[in-house]
Amino acid sequence: MNDKNFDFAISIPSKGSGGKTGLWRTKRPVINYDKCTRCRFCIIFCVENTIDEKENHLPEIDYDYCKGCGVCANVCPVNAIEMKDEAEV
């Protein structure tokens, strides 16, 4: 606390301002790349913005921050994302 500047209460841009939110997850979205059509729906709709687009245009989930809400699995038009129990993976 002592080395902190207390003149003004400010915050600076940082990843993980809510913590390592991947730790919140009880279910983990797992992408079946054989089914994936690269439609980008999961990337576009992931509410936390934790799905990156790889160079081959395939989606890749950032499990450090993915909260496991399941929106990606819900919007995937070809059911290529499965929500698996964290305990099982």
């Binding site: 207390f6 003149d7 209460a9 400010i10």
Partner: protein
């Protein structure tokens, strides 16, 4: 180069604001401040003051919008009174906590209910814990001078805090007095360029963010430290101003205190009446002096305590803290501990009730004759 002229208090403050060259103003009408807003609108409309005057829909928005403008680097100003200051209350604390340099003039006025448009100091004093520098004028000249000083104090790098100027509603706002005005370049040189902007697209920060229990108190302590240090700096700024205006400014004014056996303490316009009362008492051989408080926050404890040791003091309050007492009396009591002084609290002038020099004199005589209670209400 000075100009000697006559102005009502509201116009004198508006003139000082024009000379301070704020970039953004936001003012909402309320008696007895309104004629200042009208004057400012004239200045902006005629181009004499190059600024945006935001015609807000409430006092809350007046303070909110100048807060936003101040964060973006503008010099800013607002003014209000009474209910308006209370309605602004949430934002008053917000800008105090955020330590944003800005200036507000308060045309002091009683608080309802019942409705009253007339003067007392209750509104101004409700904001004593809001982390604002608070100054109080005695006459139109001071309202003008202290407005200019307020901008410099508020923006000073060692202070950085909002600054509030109180001046009595109608008694000063609507009374025409002779005063000396500084020329524009003297004001420019005195205040200097504003150097405070926190909204920076190249260095983005979140301003006023959540602070948890580990850090919240740290911010409050830094305000405390800034206020502790502000006293000496304000004295320097007042001295600097005195050099260009040839009018002596200090956090307190002492009138015939040095050899006094008894003191009167007051702030605001009626200090002038107290001064006349002191002269009348002196002419009768009674050694009475006057301590006038100009800087209410930070409270000039050391300065006052120098004069009050072993003295009986009549403290004039145009305000009251219900269930406690006169606010100024309480402040002075809190520093008179161990100084063997006796505080007599006089509550008077609420809601514009007139108080004469003679009444103050009579009460001081009662104090001298040990006929005065601890707290008297002059009805």
């Amino acid at each position: 180069m000075k100009t000697i002229t006559s102005l009502v208090g509201n116009h004198a403050v508006a003139y000082a604001v024009k000379q301070a060259k704020p970039n953004v103003l936001a003012v909402y009408p309320i008696t007895p401040q309104t004629t200042m807003l009208e004057k400012l609108a004239d200045y902006v409309s005629s181009g004499e003051l190059k600024a945006e005057l935001i015609k807000v829909e409430s006092e809350h928005s007046a303070m909110a919008s100048i807060f936003g403008a101040a964060l973006a680097g503008a010099r800013v100003f607002t003014a209000t009174a009474s209910q308006g200051l209370l309605y602004m209350g949430e934002m008053i604390y917000w800008v105090g906590g955020a330590r944003v340099p800005l200036v507000a003039a308060i045309a002091t006025r009683a608080i309802g209910a019942p409705w009253s448009i007339w003067d007392d100091h209750e509104d101004f004093l409700t904001k004593r814990d809001a982390a604002w520098i608070q100054l109080m004028a005695q006459n139109v000249q001071e309202a003008y001078d202290l407005t200019i000083q307020a901008f410099k104090i508020s923006e000073d790098k060692k202070i950085i805090a909002p600054c509030m100027l109180g001046f009595d509603g109608f008694i000063l706002t609507h009374t025409m007095e002779r005063l000396e005005l500084l020329d524009d370049s003297s004001v420019d040189n005195f205040i200097g360029k504003r150097d405070f902007s926190i909204i920076d697209f190249d260095n983005p920060v979140g301003i006023g963010t959540v602070a948890g229990p580990q850090t919240y108190m740290g911010y409050k302590y830094s305000i405390k430290k800034a206020f502790d240090g502000a006293k000496e700096r304000i004295k320097e700024i007042m001295k600097e101003y005195s050099e260009i205006s040839n009018i002596d400014y200090q956090p307190i004014e002492c009138y015939k205190c040095d050899d006094a056996d008894y003191l009167i303490a007051a702030m605001g316009a009626w200090s002038g009446d107290a001064r006349v009362a002191v002269d009348m008492l002196r002419s009768e051989g009674k050694k009475v002096g006057l301590i006038r408080i100009i800087m209410f926050r930070p409270f000039p404890k050391e300065e006052i305590s120098k004069y009050i040791k072993g003295k009986d003091i009549l403290v004039l309050d145009r305000d009251y803290s219900f269930g406690s007492g006169g606010i100024l009396a309480n402040e002075i009591k809190s520093i008179s501990y161990n100084l063997d002084s006796k505080i007599y609290s006089l509550i008077a002038g609420l809601g514009g009730k007139d108080v004469s020099e003679k009444e103050i004199k009579t009460l001081a005589e009662k104090m001298i004759n040990k006929e005065l209670g601890d707290e008297e209400w002059l009805m």
